[in-house]
């Protein structure tokens, strides 16, 4: 029999706070992490978008030693901070290295390191390009940093699938634990890619909200006036282990990871298949492989990025998935508060899903003035909503450029 996989630790660094709990409290309070940026990029580079959801710049200097921080790209800095929090939260001071693995994602990798090195090359020449540049910029840098810190010798892997990345890593972590390849997996994802180049590029694509006069309300999934996503950054870590391993050491258990599903649109490099057909397939697979029925699903943490084209197909797919039970599933679009953490988004939203199941409360979706008439799902608006008692389940959806669809299903404990 396949062993049960449970979540025993969480950690997060987000635009809403330096810990998972600080993030969760801000989410319940409906706080926006989106603000006008404190830099000169708009002036200097003529950027249209001058706002984002940024991590407090004090977090890294407060939590990492200077010498360690300078050897890590910001995406690895966030990763290590959230991984430490999650391991401490799980009470895992020591693990068996041979039975410990890392499944970690970034969507883009060390973009700051790469571009800083390019600037150095241009202005100071090749001799000044630092020897650690490549290990710092590589997308598996954060995974490797976590793996070294916690002596994870059962495998350290990085799955990259844009904004679906860290949900795929959670799925991979589930596979590692349920197949018996590891007792403990440090899973999640991080991103630190708010840079003039990414802002310019996403803006060229018309993917970003341009609501510069009101950044706090810019991320508004499902609202008729939504005009794009908001760049975010940060990291989320979940500790996965077998229920047996967790119980043997008396660990607290947040929720069960029931299963996961994956698919690909194979349709367009950035645009999702408009009918949500393959998003549906990933959700269906997550339910089927977990032996869950639509009636079990009481909560959905939607991918819902606030783009005009993206939110509808997902809502159609959720509706088709749940059928008559759609009104019983409370849907939260937490990017309305966190912005879009790209490769970190799936991990952070899975943390929020796990907390929702544990505390029986679905997070709000802020900034909706009028729900798009094409959306027919039960959205939690403005304030948190209570989830029912008893055995319930939830899913967290992530979709990424490249047509990637990944869905993780959780059960309450």
């Amino acid at each position: 029999m396949t062993p049960k996989v449970v979540v025993t630790g969480i950690g997060a660094v987000t635009p809403l706070g330096a810990t998972a709990d600080a993030t969760w409290q801000a989410i319940l309070a409906g706080v926006s992490g989106v603000h006008t940026m404190d830099n000169d990029w708009a002036e200097k580079y003529g950027l249209t978008v001058d706002f984002a959801a940024q991590v407090d710049p004090q977090v890294v200097p407060e939590k990492l030693k200077r010498v360690q921080a300078k050897r890590l790209d910001p995406s690895s800095q966030f990763a290590l901070i959230s991984a430490r929090e999650a391991m401490a939260d799980a009470g895992l001071d020591e693990t068996d290295p041979d039975r410990t693995a890392v499944a970690w994602s970034t969507g883009i990798g060390g973009v700051w390191t790469l571009l800083d090195a390019w600037d150095t090359l241009q202005t100071e020449g090749p001799r000044r390009v630092m020897p650690l540049t490549v290990p710092m910029l590589m997308p598996n840098g954060p995974a490797a940093a976590i793996g070294m810190e916690f002596k994870a010798r059962a495998g350290v892997q990085t799955l990259v699938s844009a904004c679906a990345s860290s949900t795929e890593s959670l799925g991979h972590a589930y596979d590692l634990v349920s197949s018996g390849q590891a007792d403990v997996v440090i899973a999640g994802g991080s991103e630190a890619a708010i840079h003039p180049i990414t802002l310019a590029a996403f803006n060229s694509m018309q993917a970003l909200s341009r609501r510069t006069d009101s950044p706090e309300t810019a991320s508004r999934p499902y609202d008729v006036g939504r005009d794009g996503f908001v760049m975010g950054e940060g990291s989320g870590t979940l500790i996965l282990e077998t229920e047996e391993h967790a119980k043997a050491r008396g660990a607290k258990i947040y929720a069960e990871v029931a299963s996961w599903g994956i698919s690909n649109d194979a349709y367009h490099i950035t645009g999702g298949e408009p009918g949500g057909k393959y998003a549906l397939r990933a959700m269906q697979e997550a339910l089927d492989s977990a032996d869950l029925s639509p009636a079990d699903i009481k909560h959905v943490n939607a991918h819902a990025t606030s783009t005009p084209v993206g939110d509808i197909p997902e809502s159609v797919a959720i509706h088709e998935l749940l059928g008559d039970h759609v009104s019983d599933a409370l849907v939260s679009a937490t990017k309305s508060m966190t912005g879009h953490l790209l490769g970190g988004t799936g991990a952070v939203e899975s943390i929020l899903t796990v907390k929702a199941l544990q505390e029986r409360v679905a997070p709000p979706t802020i900034n909706i003035e009028e729900v798009d008439p094409e959306v027919h799902i039960n959205i939690v608006r403005d304030t948190p909503a209570e989830l029912p008692a008893g055995d319930i389940a939830a899913i967290s959806n992530s979709f990424g450029f490249g047509g990637h669809n990944a869905v993780v299903a959780f059960k309450s404990v």
Binding site: K65, R66, V67, K70, E124, R127, R128, M130, P131, L132
Partner: protein
């Protein structure tokens, strides 16, 4: 304008501190970079590049292996700035 030997030592100690976190007082002339200060080859290259910048000298990669102790580096930089 040349740096004095003690200025070079102090400057090197700052660079080592910045890279490794070692206290500046620990960077004594007779200490070996690898055996005493536990500095790996990548950190050593970073220290060399920063020293080149700070002291306005060139330290070719092939010469770095000869810089065993802190004093070796001080002497090398001292000589290089005269050249």
């Amino acid at each position: 304008m040349a740096f004095t030997e003690s200025e070079i030592l102090a400057g090197l100690a700052e660079i080592v501190n910045e890279e490794t976190g070692l206290a500046v007082e620990a960077v004594e002339p007779n200490k070996s970079f690898t055996d005493d200060l536990d500095i790996d080859s990548i950190s050593m290259m970073t220290i060399v590049v920063n020293a080149e910048k700070k002291f306005g000298v060139k330290i070719p990669d092939d010469d770095v292996k000869d810089l065993v102790t802190v004093q070796d580096a001080v002497d090398y930089i001292n000589k290089a700035q005269e050249a």
